[in-house]
């Protein structure tokens, strides 16, 4: 459970890099995956999850106001569930679903944040130096939101799926392994079209 909590904390912090702070690519799958793997005690699996996440999401970019699924959240959920002894091919599936769900929640939060921004703008108008506090508060709220999301999804899926795992038929495990094995091939084929001169 300590590894689970550590992974959630680091993942929530790394997710800030996606949009709200730095954008130094700490939140990329190939960076976040091995780092989170270090906390889970299996860097190789973390590295693999990171590579698979990047390859799977390589065809969606944050253009305009578009919000692609978060690679950091996908890696965090995958490694957090893996730390709870869920096989990586199932953990990764839940990670992908979780990251899609996260982008839906993020759209909702960004729409709602508009009201808070109006409130803050009024305060900044009265005292412009308040801007620093606004930015710190915005970062703090984003971090708290990220942490809450990964904890809720991780705890909602993790313990119940661990119990279910013992009753799952062997064929389903095989299906999970097959789908997981397909990920690099889906991604590599996309990489070729990603480098075409006319791409989305």
């Amino acid at each position: 459970m300590t590894a689970f909590l550590g992974i959630c904390l680091l993942g929530a912090l790394l997710e800030l890099d996606t949009t709200y702070a730095f954008q130094l690519t700490f939140s990329r799958g190939i960076i976040a995956g091995p780092l989170l793997g270090l906390l889970a005690g299996d860097v190789l699996t973390g590295l693999q999850v990171g590579v698979f996440t990047e390859l799977l999401f390589i065809d969606i970019n944050p253009l305009g106001g578009m919000l692609p699924p978060s690679a950091a959240v996908c890696c965090t959920l995958s490694m957090a569930l893996y730390a709870l002894n869920i096989p990586i091919y199932f953990a990764f599936f839940f990670g992908v679903i979780g990251s899609i769900l996260f982008s839906v929640c993020e759209i909702f939060v960004r729409k709602r944040r508009g009201n808070w921004i109006v409130h803050e703008e009024q305060k900044i108008h009265q005292r412009p130096s308040r801007m620093n506090q606004t930015v710190i508060r915005a970062l703090g709220m984003s971090f708290a939101g990220n942490l809450l999301f990964v904890l809720i999804v991780g705890l909602a899926i993790g313990p119940s799926f661990v119990k279910l795992l013992a009753h799952l038929p062997e064929q389903l495990q095989l299906a999970g392994r097959f789908a997981y094995m397909a990920v690099p091939w889906i991604g590599l084929a996309t990489l070729i079209s990603a480098f075409r001169l006319k791409t989305r």
Binding site: F22, V43, I58, E121
Partner: protein, 274 residues
């Protein structure tokens, strides 16, 4: 603009997307980044500062790495605004300021999206994948065989990280200088780099490496002739060919990869149960 102010703008620009919202996008980030510069310009007229900051709190949206071109140009224009003596001149320069903010944010976002998200990100991913495969980390297998040192495990990720950020931070730093010192007919420093040629060349190299990587993957499955035409080999070959074909087809249909994977997971599960 002195070095200290340049550095402050650069460091603060790392938070340009903080508070991103669908109403005014990066307005909080832009105002936060420009605040020390505005405070210095209006140090003798602090009463003007709130209304100046309000202008920066209006709509603003661009690509975060390329935002530096907007920062430098807006800083230069703000200096001119602060020096105006008549109301007519002020109105004219304010209109110019608005035009620069709007047009430069759109132009730099268009370049930045193509360069950073469309080219550099997949390119550095390729770089990392090639390094990992060269040191023997075979991520195609569920249980990766072999033991590796920390350098081998993290080296490729570090190389991708450094390659991406060397270019991103260089553009970020130079963007402020170029746009601050550039004249209007130089597109605020944007024409200093041949963006199209850079993107074109990177994409040509990228497609070549992608094909080599894909062929390496195919070779990995067929190199052991003893296994060739065995049940396991045929199963894997069919699986690989199927997903490569599906992925290429879904590109044209504009279906994202993640849905292909989710569909594969559900389809395999259903097939395995019945």
């Amino acid at each position: 603009m002195n070095f200290t102010m340049h550095l402050r703008l650069f460091l603060r620009s790392l938070f340009i997307q903080t508070g991103w919202n669908f109403t005014k996008y990066q307005n909080i980030g832009l105002a936060f980044t420009m605040y020390p510069f505005l405070r210095r310009i209006y140090q003798h007229d602090p009463e003007a500062l709130p209304s100046v900051v309000d202008r920066y709190l209006e709509n603003f949206n661009t690509q975060p790495m390329m935002a530096s071109f907007c920062l430098g140009a807006l800083a230069r224009q703000e200096e001119r605004l602060a020096q105006t003596k008549t109301l007519a001149a002020y109105k004219e320069r304010l209109s110019e300021w608005n035009g620069i903010k709007r047009s430069l944010s759109i132009t730099s976002a268009s370049i930045g999206d193509r360069l950073f998200w469309g080219t550099l990100k997949p390119f550095t991913l390729l770089l990392a994948l090639c390094i990992w495969l060269l040191v023997g980390i075979n991520f195609f297998e569920i249980e990766i065989p072999g033991t590796f040192t920390r350098w081998e495990l993290f080296g490729a990720a570090a190389a991708a990280f450094l390659a991406f950020n060397a270019i991103a931070l260089f553009v970020k730093w130079q963007g402020i200088t170029l746009s601050y010192h550039a004249v209007n007919n130089g597109c605020f420093g944007l024409t200093k780099f041949d963006w199209n040629k850079t993107i074109y060349n990177a994409k040509r190299i990228g497609i070549l490496i992608s094909v080599v990587l894909l062929l390496w993957g195919v070779y990995y499955f067929v190199h052991d002739l003893e296994e060739f035409l065995g049940v396991q080999f045929i199963t894997r070959a069919v699986l690989v060919l199927f997903f490569v074909s599906i992925s290429l087809m879904t590109r044209d249909l504009r279906i994202p990869n993640m849905y292909v994977y989710i569909a594969a997971m559900l389809a395999f599960s259903l097939v395995s149960l019945f």
